[in-house]
Symmetry: C2
Subunit: 411 residues, 2 copies
């Protein structure tokens, strides 16, 4: 009997704890698995040896329900990039020691692109050294940019929050009888999936947003002003959804001058400010009432408004990861394959993580209109099932009840 | 039999349509009331003669439920300040004509401080001219700054959104094992009620926000940096709630240089930027990871997360306004008097609008701690009942269903 280790990494999503819940529940159901350890703060906790006993933290089924409704990451996260083995073998030695000490036979890493790079490197390392550790990546990302899977857990809940917030903002915009432009800035460094979700209110009768700009198409500020003017020739309230990551034709970020220039451990620039930039542009070039709204971190942590479809899939994919590892799969990432849209059906599978790591799934150009300022019907068909269903959550004092992990480290 | 006219004014709140719903339902129940008219875009619509027939728009009880779950304002709004009669008698003549033409005997204006000024002026006008029009103000404001009432409809839902969003942001902040400062900028030009609501997560076990700055106390940037450093000496994640309206000891807005300088029709400055200002300050003076989050218009339009207490009171106060007018009250604003906290009970009454208009109810200094960086227990006792209860809402395509008014104008 071997033990299991699980960790979370990268940016939070509302559904990432549902995958953790699914994996723990499946592990507890399977007598082949001994201890169920969680590493605090991802790979960092593995290097520091800070593991917690997860089995001891769940007494009732309700505890899992609360965990699934808790945003951010119960185990904490990190943004640590595992070096190549030849660069720093000591890191791999530490991990080998930890796995030997705790008799880890199964390792699950819940994360996005960068985390799958870690899974890939560790998987190659174990293959080379002949250690019998099954290692599986469990996808999560609000950006929906992981390749090899129809979509990633976490995306649906963010898309639902964005669609709902956008619908409410639209109602707010139509209150005054004056010309106005409202710019909503949405997360998404390279992939426009989240920004595309802002179009969903149009499926329930809203007449906005009229303009949608994704990072997949080069952004032209002059064309943007022409687009806004054209909308204004038809209606008083122009509402724009724009991705934080839109770039000019030369590849530079549209809001270059508005950015802080800070770079994270993976070399990604922290973005902000395209909303403010476009707001300034409209004020200067058109001169009407204009405001910009940044949906900010609520896009990834609004667990009071999760998609039931997303939470169900996140839980299931976590549970299947454990089953797949027990069946002998390793070096793979769990994936969702869409079987049909009506009724919506998906199949859960797994693909070699080497095919996935360090690649990005962008919005196909064919799903963006010719002018590059809207999405096509294919996008609506793709998105709608993913935001379907509401998730009731327990409350106390009028606020959601969250799961807080006991971080007592095992000796 | 006389007809009734109702209108909405000022900034949107999530609960303002619940007051409209309560008033329409009460009017329909009372045979003394003939037609039920709504004016589009507040007093502007009255001057333009754009009235809609409200009775014709509601066929089923469910229509009222949907209206109550719809953010913004079904009738639209305006920010028009009624002149003094001696300044521009023609405006009053137009209103007299409209009231005579449509045989209006009852007029209800749902709004905040500025709207109560309109109610007061019209009430004096009708008293002077001897017209038999009963006129009642129905309070609404997310800022909770209307005097004479324990609290105002609309505030509880905003407070619930802020408390919930803050709790989720706190979870998000604790994900990484690094020192960080998070600044959440909250609405409130002069009154700190909304910002105080950000403290509520501490009643459900959260250890943040540790610092709360309201506009009622002079803001000292140097003390702020000392406060942050003190929190950081105890914990890694410092979370700050700050009102958009905090001012320095000299009375100027703390973020003066970050503001657009645009002024609305009432001479209020549009505020923004105190979060960004404090973010910059922390980056310069402390140098740790820091971010700022502006909750923006979601604070006033998040009808997917309304307080059941707030919606019930908003509906009831709308309904009582009609009853009070039928009993002969006029020139009054409806108010809520708190009878007890445990159990929470309120009494609905009315007070002369002349005592209310153009005054502000600020947070008592005694409900803010001595250092001016937190709220006291009295504030928690006051706030907690107001965010109690969830409001289920109908959905379509995974998004809330909203009520959209037929704006066909009556001839």
């Amino acid at each position: 009997m071997r033990n299991m280790l699980i960790a979370q990494s990268g940016g939070p999503t509302a559904a990432i704890n549902a995958s953790l819940s699914g994996a723990i529940q499946e592990a507890i159901r399977n007598p082949e698995i001994g201890q169920v350890y969680g590493a605090l703060n991802g790979i960092q906790g593995m290097l520091a040896g800070t593991l917690v006993d997860l089995r001891a933290q769940f007494f009732r089924q309700e505890d899992f329900t609360i965990l699934e409704c808790t945003p951010a990451m119960a185990l904490g996260s990190c943004r640590y990039r595992l070096p190549q083995e030849e660069e720093d073998p000591s890191v791999y030695e530490k991990i080998d020691q930890l796995f030997a000490q705790y008799e880890i036979g199964y390792f699950f890493y819940i994360g996005g692109n960068d985390s799958m790079d870690t899974v890939d490197k560790l998987s190659c390392h174990f293959a080379r050294t002949g250690q019998d550790v099954k290692i599986i990546g469990i996808p999560k990302t609000i950006d929906n940019d992981l390749p090899g899977t129809d979509h990633s857990p976490g995306f649906g809940s963010s898309a639902k929050f964005i669609a709902t917030a956008m619908l409410e903002i639209i109602r707010d915009c139509y209150v005054y009888d004056t010309d106005s432009v409202t710019i909503v800035e949405i997360m998404g460094r390279h992939a426009g999936w989240l920004t595309a979700s802002a179009a969903l209110p149009r499926t329930v009768g809203a007449r906005a947003p009229q303009l949608i700009y994704l990072p997949e198409v080069a952004f032209d500020p002059e064309q943007f002003i022409r687009d806004v003017k054209e909308v204004q020739s038809l209606t008083r309230n122009c509402i724009v959804a724009v991705s934080e990551g839109v770039r000019l034709a030369d590849g530079s970020f549209a809001a270059e001058n508005f950015q802080s220039g800070v770079v994270d451990a993976f070399g990604h620039r922290y973005l902000s400010g395209v909303g403010k930039y476009l707001e300034t542009l409209v004020r200067e070039k058109i001169g009407c009432k204009v405001r910009s709204i940044e949906l900010n971190v609520l896009q990834r942590c609004s667990s009071h408004l999760m998609s039931a479809t997303d939470v169900r899939e996140a839980r299931k994919i976590g549970s299947y990861a454990v089953r797949f590892a027990l069946q002998g799969h390793t070096g793979e990432m769990m994936v969702l394959e869409r079987v049909s849209n009506r009724p919506y059906m998906v199949r859960i599978g797994a693909k070699p993580v080497s095919e996935i790591a360090n690649r990005e799934q962008l919005v196909p150009r064919a799903w963006i209109n010719k002018q590059g300022n809207d999405v096509t019907d294919e996008m609506f068909d793709y998105l709608l099932p993913l935001i379907e269903g509401e998730v009731p959550y327990p409350t106390q004092n009028g606020m959601p009840v969250h799961f807080v992990l006991d971080k007592t480290v095992v000796k």
